[in-house]
Structure formats: C-alpha cells, structure tokens
C-alpha cells in the first residue's frame, strides 16, 4: 500500500509549512476587505515580497532582513494601489489586476541575477523538550518562528477586529463608509492603512515561499498562491480563525498531493498538481451556494468612496 509510506506526523508538519504563506496573504487581505476595499493584487504583492525578500536576504545574509525587505516591498506595491483607488478613484478590480501584472513583470526583471542561488537558511525554532513529544512534537513543534508568528498574527487580527476601538472603526468604514464618514472617521486614511497592512502581509507570505518553503527564487514562483488567498477570504466569510482553518485544509491538500507524487501514484504529476486549484474552486462553490444565507461580506466592499461635501 503506497499510502502506508506517508507518515502522518511529517504530513502534519509539512501541512503547516504549506499553509503559512497563503494564510499570511489571506489574513492581510481579510483586513483590507473588512475596510471595504477589494485588492485583487495579492498575487502581485506576494511575488514582490518573494523577490525583494530573497534579494535582501541573499545580499545581507540575514533572513530577518529579508522578511523586513519583503514586507516593505509588499507595502510599496500596495501604496501604488492605494494611490490609484483612494486618491484617483479608479476601479478596484482593474487596479488590482494591473498590480498583479505589473508585479509579475517587475519581479521577473529584478530577480534576473538571482535564479539558482540558495538563500541563507532560516533556523528552526528550538523548543527544547516540546519537540520530543511523540507525534505532536514532530508535527507541531519543529517549525521556524514564522509559522508560530503567523498563528499569533491571526489571533491578533481577530482581537483587533473584535475588541479594539480602531478595529471597530475599520469595520464601520467597511460596512458603511457614508455612515462612518458622517461620524467623522477618516474613511480614506483607514483604508490606506488597511491596504498597507495587506501589502505587508502578502509580502511576508511571498518571502516565506522564496526563503523557507521552496527555498529559491524563480520567475512567477507564487503560481496562483495570491489568488488562492483571495478565495480563502471568501471561504472564511471574513473571519480570521476560519481563514486559518481554510489555509490548513488547503495546506493539507497540497501536501497530500505532493506526497502522492513522491510515492509514485499512477496519476501523472500534471493532474495531481491541479488539485489545489480545483479544490479551491469546489470550496468556493460550496461556500457561495448557501441559499438565502448572507455571505457576511462587508457592506461597502468594492465600492468607491468620494466625500461630496
């Protein structure tokens, strides 16, 4: 039996690693959408983070500097989106698409001299005796720090949106920007900050791919991870913990598929590697097909705001 050769603890460990980049990007986009902005440029910001993070890490020899650079790279692209959609009132769908196309091109250009290089290694976090626990130790406590920080970030975003004053203002802006404006909140300022947060998260997610998961730089290496993150936000009905559940579910599919490839199942690799995209579509269909049930989408999502007074 081929499946017998797959160790569940290793599978679980790999799943968490596979889920982390998408989860990072998704949690960022979740905040952006909660503020009422639809940024379809996640893929572009992710690849930007992957590229800039890789370049910085290779040149400084420090993965931490790499991640910082990646976040800044993501923010830089997201500011372009913010300028277009918030200051110049452009169509959000078109601007997001432009961001993705531009990001893919720009990174192909920037990353030219970096193909085939190995980045500095990110050390695993030493959790001492925890990682010696049978099964759980191998599955949960043998990761790099980014995996844990990402989970912490999900918790922080959940708390921020639910309990903090700033989070409530952000949600108000996303649910009804006219009412928020009437209450004296700065709709555009809130949105620009949310967009920047989304950019930073997408950048970090991209860097996780190029510095830890793969770890290498190749042109267009995100292969749709940004789009899957966007789908994940819908799947999660804009709730942070559900986004995490979704990302881990998705990570499971990716890892299982890779394991089946390695185990030599008699299905061509090309068909196995489609499965993450097909599963994402399937999940989107299931989630959106509930009759009469509201999807919980923010009320002002993808609507431009222009104060008329």
């Amino acid at each position: 039996m081929i499946l017998g050769s797959i160790n569940p603890a290793v599978l679980m460990a790999a799943l968490m690693v596979a889920a982390t980049p998408i989860l990072l990007a998704a949690i960022g986009e979740l905040v952006v959408e909660k503020a009422g902005v639809l940024n379809l440029g996640v893929e572009g910001m992710m690849i930007m983070g992957a590229c800039v993070g890789f370049i910085v890490a290779v040149n400084t020899g420090s993965p931490i500097m790499g991640f910082i650079g990646a976040a800044l790279g993501g923010i830089a692209l997201s500011l372009l989106f913010a300028l277009l959609t918030q200051a110049l009132m452009t169509n959000q769908v078109a601007s997001g698409l432009a961001l993705t196309l531009f990001g893919l091109g720009l990174t192909a250009l920037l990353g030219q001299g970096y193909v085939g290089i190995t980045p500095p290694r990110t050390p695993k976090l030493d959790l001492g005796p925890l990682s010696d626990i049978p099964f759980l130790g191998r599955a949960l406590f043998t990761h790099d720090i980014v995996v844990y920080l990402t989970i912490a970030l999900v918790g922080a975003v959940w708390w921020f949106l639910k309990y903090s004053r700033a989070g409530m203002i952000l949600r108000a802006v996303g649910e009804n920007h006219d009412a928020a404006h009437a209450l004296g909140y700065h709709v555009k300022r809130v949105r620009v900050f949310a967009i920047m947060f989304g950019g930073a998260c997408a950048g970090l997610g991209g860097a996780y791919l190029s510095l830890i998961r793969v770890p290498q730089w190749t042109e267009g290496m995100t292969v749709g991870a940004g789009w899957i993150a966007l789908a994940l936000v819908v799947f999660a009905s804009w709730r942070p913990w559900r986004a995490m559940a979704g990302a881990y579910l998705f990570g499971g599919v990716v890892v299982l598929q890779l394991n089946l490839q390695a185990a030599g199942v008699r299905i061509p690799v090309e068909y196995l590697s489609m499965s993450p995209y097909l599963i994402t579509i399937l999940v989107l269909v299931i989630i959106s097909s509930g009759k009469g049930r509201s999807l919980n989408a923010p009320g002002s999502l993808n609507k431009p705001f222009h104060a008329s007074s």
Partner: protein, 361 residues
C-alpha cells in the same frame, strides 16, 4: 487646497485623449527604466516602437509579425470588452485560449495524416467550442451557485496550464519523436495548417477572424438589443432588471462569447505561428488582452488600435532582447505600467481638479 470635484458627466475629451497620454507617459517612465538598466533610453524606445515597422533592416521580418502578434490580442480583447462593459469579469482568457488550442489541435491530430478540406473548418469549430466550454465553468458556477467569476476564471488558468503540460507530455505527444515533449508540428500537416494567406504579410485566418469579430462586436454593441442590455447592466443594474434584462443570461452570453473568441485565438495560434502543442505554448496573450481591452476603451475600434500597439511591444521587446540585451521581462513591466497610467489618468474623465483657497468649508 487641491480638491477633486465629480463631473456631472464623464468628459468625452479625456476619454479619447487619455490612452494616448498614457502611452506617452509609459514611454517616458519606460525610458527611465531602461536608463536605470544601463541602456540608452532613446535607442531602446525607438527600437521597440518604431524600428519594427520603419527600420529597413528589421521591417522585412517584423512587419508580418505585427499581424501575427496583434490578431490574438484583438480577438480575445473584443470578447473580454463586452463582458467588462456588463461588469462580468472574465480574467481567465488565458485558460480559454489554451483549451481552445488543445481542442483544435486534438481534431487535427485525430485526422492525421488524412487530407481533407473539412479538417481545418472542423478545427475552427472545435477551438471555439473548447474556449466556450472552459468559460462556461465560471459562467454556470456564477449563475447557479453565485460563485465569484473573477476567482474561478483565474484559477482555471492554472488548471488549463497543467492540462496543456499533460497533453504535451502524454496524449498529444508526437509518436514519431518520443524523446521530445510536444505534439506533431501542425505546420507540416497541410490539411490542418493555418498558413499565411498572402506571402510575407503575416495574414492568416486568425487575422481574418479578428477583423470579423471586431465588426460583429461593433454592430452588436451599437445596433443590437444585446449591446443595449450589456451597457444597461453595466451602468445601471437595477434599471436593467426593470428593462427585462436577465442577469444570469447576460453572464452566460458574455462569458460564452469571450471564451469562444479566446478559444479561436488559441486554435489559430497552435495551427499556425505556434505550430505545436508544447508546454511553453501559452505566452500570456490572455492577460495582455485585458490591457488591450482597457486601452481600447472597451470599444471594438479602439481595441484594434490598442491591439496593434501591444502587439508592437511584443515584437519590439524581441528586438530589444536581440539588439540591446534588454531583459524580456522589461516588456511585461512596460505593459503593466501602461495600464497603471491609463487607470490613473482616467480620474480626469470623471473628476475635475479644483483649486480652492485657504480653509475648507
């Protein structure tokens, strides 16, 4: 204080002028980019935009290329534009293009090596049908389950790319050359070859199809009820419902037209300039066509101009790689910038810049 004031009606002048202005700004920004790459910006811009058509050394090669590169862009963009007008966002034309090519090539390979006048027409039908089918997936999921067509159509591009790879390595691989990935060369199979109609012009059946599509789209959008419904649904969805527009049917029609046209583009490419089913067959026409549609103001005639311009950048990019060792990705950046500038400039169409003095009221 600088303020934006919403215009009562979008400015007609800026609508027309902005695409031209965007091209100029892209040339300037692109020139700066080339200078930063250590190339002479004036030489690079000339090489990309003028030499493919006017230079005596290159024109004999690159003039025919202009039609070859522009035709698929125009064919795909015309279909996309109808959808964009109705707020139906099909951004997966690249996938529909690939599946169309596979259907067309599949028919050809099934008949190989028989001669027959009917093979090529069958391939055309199969190509359009393949693209149509692939576009029906997001359309039906949208109308039946209310699933977001943007995400589904885009995710299906990645699926289509993998089907393409599976076909090139498996079912459609050339049995006479099993060591190499890729199908038989359709250019060597006369009944299936989408040959040049007039020697050394680049004119092939795909170009003819593109112009027919442009004329049809123009008539539909300006003279036919469907065009009216599309515009109404895009600009005033509520009013559209009162006017009897069935939103679900419109989604299916828009995606269907765009899918069929993208499939046709893929089929004409694989049977002509592309030649065979290979892993690297897809070259991003489906995504560049989005830029073409916007740059052409979603108007069929505008799309022809925009298609030629973007087609030109493909050829100019190749020349730049050859003559100046410009990186190939520079052209992608160029195309991305073009869309950015266009979107940014369009605020002038809808808003007026007002300088107000001192305090805000």
């Amino acid at each position: 204080m600088i303020r934006l004031e919403k215009r009562k009606e979008p400015s007609k002048f800026w609508r027309i002028a902005n695409p031209f202005l965007a091209v100029v700004l892209t040339m300037i920004a692109g020139g700066i980019m080339f200078a930063m790459l250590g190339k002479d910006p004036f030489v690079a811009i000339r090489l990309i935009f003028f030499d493919p058509i006017f230079s005596e050394t290159f024109a004999s090669y690159s003039r025919p290329q202009l039609l070859i590169k522009s035709a698929p862009l125009i064919l795909i963009a015309v279909g996309l534009a109808i959808g964009f007008k109705a707020n139906v966002w099909n951004i997966g034309a690249e996938g529909q293009y690939i599946i169309g090519a596979l259907f067309g090539a599949g028919v050809a390979l099934a008949f190989f090596p028989q001669p027959g006048w009917y093979i090529f027409p069958l391939m055309v039908l199969a190509g359009a049908f393949g693209g149509f089918l692939w576009a029906m997936i997001p359309a039906i999921l949208k109308t039946r389950f209310n699933t977001n067509e943007i995400l589904v159509s885009l995710l299906l591009v990645y699926v289509a790319e993998r089907i393409l790879a599976a076909m090139a390595l498996g079912l459609m691989r050339n049995p006479d050359q099993p060591g190499f990935p890729g199908s038989r060369d359709l250019r060597r199979y006369e009944a299936a070859h989408n040959a040049e109609l007039i020697a050394n012009t680049g004119m092939h059946w795909g170009v003819v199809a593109a112009f027919i599509a442009v004329i049809f789209a123009y008539v539909i959008m300006t003279r036919h009820m469907l065009g009216f419904h599309v515009q109404l649904a895009g600009q005033a969805p509520r009013a559209a419902r009162f006017a009897g527009v069935a939103p679900a049917r419109l989604v299916v029609v828009c995606l269907g037209i765009a899918g069929a046209l993208a499939g046709l583009a893929g089929m004409f490419e694989v049977s002509g300039p592309g030649g065979q089913v290979r892993i690297e067959f897809a070259s991003g026409y489906g995504f560049t066509a989005i830029i073409v549609a916007f740059l052409g103001r979603l108007n069929p005639l505008g799309i022809v101009l925009a298609g030629f311009l973007l087609g030109l950048t493909y050829i100019g990019g190749e020349l730049g790689q050859m003559m100046l060792q410009l990186p190939g990705a520079a052209i992608q950046v160029f195309q991305g910038m073009l869309l950015f500038f266009l979107l940014a400039l369009d605020f002038q169409t809808n808003y007026r810049i007002r300088l107000t003095q001192g305090m805000r009221a």
